[in-house]
């Protein structure tokens, strides 16, 4: 979260997991009316943001503009503008396509879920418009307040709509059976070696190896949905299609 002079007092409403699916279904239905129904992945995130919602997208050197943080994207509510860091532009950095799409969808999440919290105070802000332009909301790696979490969930649901994921899973696997971590353990060393080579490194942390195994399994669908393997892995875990333990979960 950026340090801002006019941080709105209001916090966003609490949202159930189902609420995000609903928000996304509504948005896709609105988009589908004029631009053709989206029936298969990948979700046309650029078109939804720019052509349908008429939000301007700018590619900028945000990391130079905001040296105090690792900023990848930002939204300016009044100007109706989203800025994305140059390091994510897929035409220049094809490996960043998934991150680009997720960042754009994340900022769109702020637009759909949180803009009323900002525009309500637009009058006050306009009085002080001689201040340097700061985005109302920026995405940094590792951000985690409630608005950020909500924007991430929105982005995940939008880029990987539940029903489309189910269908893709079924087409790929031939059934709705989940993949268990144990299933991957048989080829553990082989998978880990391949993943480390592919990533050019190893992320440390408690779950790093487990995540890598599961992300390896998520790769085919990540390609289909044009998201990063970790975004796909998190979505599939949330949908109980990738599971760390054999016991059925009591949640969701």
């Amino acid at each position: 979260m950026a340090r801002r002079s006019f941080k709105p007092e209001s916090t966003p409403r609490y949202m159930q997991p189902q609420d995000f699916e609903t928000e996304v279904t509504v948005l896709l239905a609105e988009y589908g009316k004029d631009h053709g129904v989206v029936t298969a992945p990948p979700i046309p995130i650029d078109d939804i943001v720019e052509e349908y919602l008429k939000i301007t997208v700018e590619f900028r050197d945000l990391r130079a503009e905001y040296p105090e943080g690792d900023v990848l994207g930002g939204i300016y509510f009044q100007e109706k503008k989203i800025a994305i860091d140059l390091s994510l532009v897929p035409e220049d950095f094809p490996a960043m396509r998934g991150r680009y799409r997720f960042t754009l969808a994340h900022e769109l999440g702020h637009w759909r879920l949180h803009r009323h919290l900002y525009l309500r105070r637009a009058g006050e802000r306009a009085l002080l418009s001689n201040l340097p332009a700061r985005p109302d909301h920026v995405l940094r790696s590792g951000d985690s307040d409630r608005k950020e979490i909500q924007a991430n969930r929105f982005a995940a649901c939008l880029l990987m709509p539940r029903e489309m994921v189910k269908r893709a899973w079924h087409e790929w696997r031939g059934s709705m059976d989940p993949i268990y971590l144990d299933d991957l353990n048989a080829r553990r060393q082989q998978i880990l070696t391949a993943e480390v080579l592919r990533r050019g490194g190893f992320k440390s942390g408690d779950d790093a190896e487990e995540n890598m195994l599961l992300e390896h399994a998520a790769r085919p669908l990540a390609e289909t949905f044009e998201v990063s393997p970790d975004a796909m892995r998190i979505r599939l875990e949330g949908m109980q299609l990738l599971l760390r333990k054999k016991e059925p979960s009591l949640f969701e």
Binding site: D46, D47, E50, E51, V57, E58, F59, V89, E91, D92
Partner: protein, 104 residues
């Protein structure tokens, strides 16, 4: 983009990089070449001259037109400078009438 193209799609159609096109939109770099402006106008269905002017570029045919009559055309342009769009239209219609009469 106003006309219903995303930045990346439009860049692809014009044949430039999206990062470059975004810098153009933000006025961070010089405007595109006359050729590219023409291409953009065609894709957007906009008037080439108008878009060229907005981009600070002249349509390619204009320098040639001026060179063909290096005294008369600049004099004419200076004379009509400051006229309203409607006055200009009347001048143009008059010019077309004169050309037609001369031909007949």
């Amino acid at each position: 983009m106003e006309k219903g193209f995303s930045l990346r799609k439009f860049a692809q159609l014009v044949g430039v990089s999206p990062t470059y096109l975004s810098q153009v939109e933000q006025s961070n770099v010089d405007p595109p070449t006359a050729d590219r402006v023409r291409r953009m106008a065609e894709i957007l269905g906009e008037d080439v001259d108008e878009l060229s002017a907005l981009a600070g570029r002249l349509s390619e045919d204009l320098p040639e037109i001026i060179r063909e009559e290096p005294k008369g055309v600049p004099d004419l342009l200076r004379a009509v400078r400051g006229m309203t769009a409607d006055q200009l239209r009347r001048v143009r219609e008059e010019a077309e009438r004169i050309k037609r009469d001369e031909e007949n």
